[in-house]
Symmetry: C2
Subunit: 310 residues, 2 copies
Amino acid sequence: VIPRAYLVGLGPIGIEVGRALRARGIPLAGAADPTYAGQPLGQLIGDGDAGAIAASAGELYARRVDGELSVAVLCTGSRVPQVAPQIEEALAAGLHVVSTCEELSYPRLRHAELAARLDDAARAAGRAVLGTGINPGFVMDRLPWTLAQACVRVEHVHVERVVDAARRRGPLRAKVGAGLSVEQFLEGVARGALGHVGLGESAARLAAELGFALDEVEETLAPVVGEGGVVKGVQQAAWVRSGGRERVRLELVMAVGAPDPHDRIVVDGDPPLDVLVQGGAHGDRGTVGTVVSAVAGVASLPVGVVTSYR
Amino acid sequence: VIPRAYLVGLGPIGIEVGRALRARGIPLAGAADPTYAGQPLGQLIGDGDAGAIAASAGELYARRVDGELSVAVLCTGSRVPQVAPQIEEALAAGLHVVSTCEELSYPRLRHAELAARLDDAARAAGRAVLGTGINPGFVMDRLPWTLAQACVRVEHVHVERVVDAARRRGPLRAKVGAGLSVEQFLEGVARGALGHVGLGESAARLAAELGFALDEVEETLAPVVGEGGVVKGVQQAAWVRSGGRERVRLELVMAVGAPDPHDRIVVDGDPPLDVLVQGGAHGDRGTVGTVVSAVAGVASLPVGVVTSYR
């Protein structure tokens, strides 16, 4: 069954998702974004007759036909509190939800009550709610736990991801603080405006999927500083300890000119596995790929907030 | 829900699977193998009280308790016609089936009628039937299609796997024809006694999972010949063409002293992916890992013959 997609949020990723959905043959019921309200969607995402861009999600969901398999694709924000009302609105209108919201990949880590409320709402509606992307959502969680399926026993998983921010679009360079002073960087971090969102979520969901209790989930964040004290990017780590032992460690560097971009997953287990994604999985295109794949396969997702996902 | 496992076939892999199930905390109802009938299972797979080894699967399944979640773990053969009656017996007794049978990873490729009959029987029984292992079952099919989930579009997938047979147990060296003359090798191939079973199955299921029609599925097999005309192993390839274009190509070398053992998955798509399993995934331990993981997760498998499996 091919679902119909309702795209909410036309930032750079939302626009790419819209184009990719069309290319994949998934019909778009339309899109909503107040910035472009009333403009033809075809102008933004290429040819097509998905009508005028709605000013709100509610206006967009009114196009839904009863009984149809429909997915709200929310490309609107990184934090669960911000996206939760949008999820509830989509569920109430009868839609499944696939979102690029980073925290939604494992919402209970930072928002236990809200996550439980969303899970209840999704179950009551008989719909799936999935946060996905390349990271969180793939290279540092789903791919490692898929690899662990080939293991009799897993002692520890270590994932490192190095991204050269110079090869990525402007918003990523801004997000990692490139060009700032250390003082400005620290101020941005304190405001929650800088850094990668979702590393702790990846660590927690990976550990949970591997069967480890989440006794401690810790995170660190620091600037990568270049010549003259100018910030080039960010380095972050997250790890999970369970029963007094570290079980998962994720390390992420996103910096302008970061040498040797790659992803590496090392499973200490039986058998051991050492897997290298040469050059690293592309962040934006990979995120679009995971979103489009999830939308295409939404009918086979379990009901509720989906955090364990193969 | 933790299932109870019924192990059928106590060859080298069956014994390793039995030990791994215990280590993973999955209760073993017992095992069946006429070679060891009447002997305590604990002697073969380590401590435990799984009773005496049964002479037949039927005798073993008689231990099943009505309403329990039970899995027959069939480590008995590589070909579907050989294993099909065992699958039907297990289904009739109320068990799910997880098997190392290589052809069962995509049974419809070579045995369309039998595959349909097994699928009907499994659906009628409300049970899952899964053929798994490291290859087929993981490195050349399931792992590549998991990677493709991060792609907006896939044009072609190329997987190569190089195994140094010198580092593996005797049965593998025999299976690849190491030490034979070319004449003996070709005679063994003609008898169906030599070579890796399942490469075509991996290619077909990977292509099917990626959405490509299986217009042509082709395979080749040749000896790797060393000094003095002595065979060192086997090199095989399988590929799928769809709509006039090659979409999947798998290349496998298993030979004594094969240089640079590894698995490599190259996805030509958007984004492209180039993934290296450094040193290669271990065949036997990886197979045991996939089997134990599948048994542990059997409750979440779909009903029927499962060929698409994340």
